[in-house]
Every structure is written in C-alpha cells, then in structure tokens.
C-alpha cells in the first residue's frame, strides 16, 4: 500500500515535471522527446488507475504515433531551413 502511494506520488511529480519541461525547453527536438516521455508516463498513470484500455490507446496513439509525427515535422522543418537559409 505504502509502496503504491510512493510510486503514485513519484509518477505524478514526473508527469508534472516532464509536462513543464516539454513546454519550457527552448530546444524543439528535446521538447518532442519530453512529450513522448510524458505520453509514456501517462500510460503508466492510466494503468495505475485500472484503465488498461485507455493505457493501450495512449501508448499507441499518444506516445507512439503523435511522437513519430512530431519528429517527422521537425525533420521537414530542418530540411526546409537548410534549403532556404
């Protein structure tokens, strides 16, 4: 019971921290990685809340597909910047 509570508190703190860092970091690549980390932590949170269905969807769509899309967008943006300096 106590371990569970400690884990939940740690999880909540990590969620808040990664969310804040993802918004505040100036490096856009780091922001995307932090967003993916946030998504994976959110998956853990859903699993802790006994909602495995939402946890599955969050891991696949929130962290996986959205992260890949954002990384792709960064690649396109960087390519465009190099094309037209």
């Amino acid at each position: 019971m106590n371990t569970g509570l400690a884990f939940d508190l740690l999880l909540a703190a990590a969620l808040l921290w990664s969310a804040w860092r993802a918004l505040a970091t100036p490096d856009i690549f780091r922001a995307v990685i932090l967003f993916i980390v946030f998504g994976l932590l959110m998956t853990l949170a859903w699993a802790r809340l006994d909602a495995p269905d939402i946890a599955l969807a969050e891991a696949a769509i929130g962290a996986g597909l959205t992260g890949a899309l954002l990384l792709d967008a960064i690649g396109v943006l960087r390519g465009r910047r190099q094309e037209k300096p």
């Binding site: 495995p52 269905d53 696949a60 769509i61 597909l65 899309l69 690649g75």
Partner: protein, 216 residues
C-alpha cells in the same frame, strides 16, 4: 512569464476545486453496463459500451477520423511528383529490426482485435498498432510515402465506416439505431471491429504517409 505561470497555477487550482466539488453521478452507469453485459455479445464492458451501448458515438468518431484524413489529402500537394523510390540513405540495422518487428506487430494487432471481446483491446488499439507498423516500415525506407490514393486504398480507408454504416442502416428497421439483436451481436461486433481495424490502421498511417515527402 511569471504572470503566465501564476495564471496557469490559479487555473489548475480552480479546476481541482471544481473536480472535488462535482456531485456524484445521478445514474449508476457501471451497474447498468454490468446488468446488460450478457445481451451485448461481448464479455468486456469497455468494448460493450464502445461498440454496442454507445455504438453511435463510435460511428461518428470513425467519421471524424475519415474527415481528418480527407482534409490532409486536400492540403497535401500530392500531384507534384510521382511516388519515388524509398529513401536512399537507410540504416541497415533499422531495416533489419523493422523486418523482424513488423510481422510481430501484425500478430499483436490481430491479437488485440480478437482480445477486445473479453479483455482490454479492440479495434482502436489494433488499428494504432497497424499504423505504427506502417510508419516503422516507412521510416526504415521499406515503404514509400503515399501520394494519390488508388481505388484499393480508398476502399480500405472508407471500408470501416461503410461497414459500420451499413450495419446501422440494416438494423434501423428494428426501430433503434445500432440496436443489435442479442443473438447476432457478437458476430456483428466482430465483423464491424475487423473492418474498423483495417480502416483505422490505414487512416492513422495515412495521416503520416500522405504528409511525408520522402525527403532525405
């Protein structure tokens, strides 16, 4: 900056206060779901709600996803170049991993679809795994980006929505939208979910692959 942080903190505190202040739900939905689960054709309450009790919502959700993909198709300049060969600069390790992982991901998608009837899983998760497999193949350089969708791809994209709509229309004669006959509910849900899985996988992958320009 400080003002924004303070405002966000105040808003968060307000949200928490409102959440704690909410009255208890007037209708005991979990009990209602549990009472009707035996008529729904599936044994997992979440799937029963998504595909049977509130199938209407899911039907519209699929429509919204399809609309989103249509918008992507409308804004992506797909006519400018023919679908070229896959990226030249590919990493052999990534390709090898993709070749091993993608068959396993397909297997996982089918398992998730099948498991949806009695445990967490279902069409959305299976479709997302399918889409992730397609994205992985694309990133490894094994699957070129999509340009103008041909007839087969269009059929795949719209198929889930059409099958769902056809089931809804066929059952409309029974008086209510998407009120499955209990005897056939399980089979109907499986058919709809299978079509949805393919369509969702293609749609989610399409959001990625139609926008991809194959830039090395």
């Amino acid at each position: 900056m400080k003002a924004v942080v303070l405002a966000a903190a105040a808003f968060a505190a307000l949200l928490v206060a409102v959440m704690l202040d909410l009255p208890a739900a007037a209708v005991d939905l979990p009990a209602a779901v549990a009472a009707n689960l035996s008529h729904s054709g599936v044994a997992h309450p979440v799937t029963a709600v998504l595909l049977n009790f509130r199938g209407y919502d899911t039907l519209l959700e699929i429509g919204v996803l399809l609309l989103a993909l249509l918008v992507v198709l409308a804004v992506s300049p797909h006519a400018e170049e023919p679908a070229g060969a896959a990226r030249v600069s590919v990493e052999p390790v990534l390709q090898a991993i993709a070749r091993i992982a993608v068959p396993l991901m397909l297997l996982a998608a089918v398992y998730l679809l099948w498991a949806g009837a009695h445990r967490p899983g279902g069409a959305f998760q299976a479709g997302a795994v399918l889409a992730a497999a397609a994205v992985l193949l694309h990133l490894a350089g094994l699957l070129p980006g999509w340009h103008a969708p041909k007839l087969l791809l269009r059929a795949g994209l719209a198929g889930g929505f059409l099958v769902f709509l056809a089931a809804a229309a066929a059952l409309l004669a029974r008086g209510a939208l998407l009120a499955y006959p209990p005897a056939a509910a399980g089979a109907l849900i499986l058919v709809i979910e299978s079509a949805l899985t393919v369509s969702l996988g293609l749609t989610l992958a399409g959001l990625f692959l139609f926008l991809s320009r194959d830039e090395a």
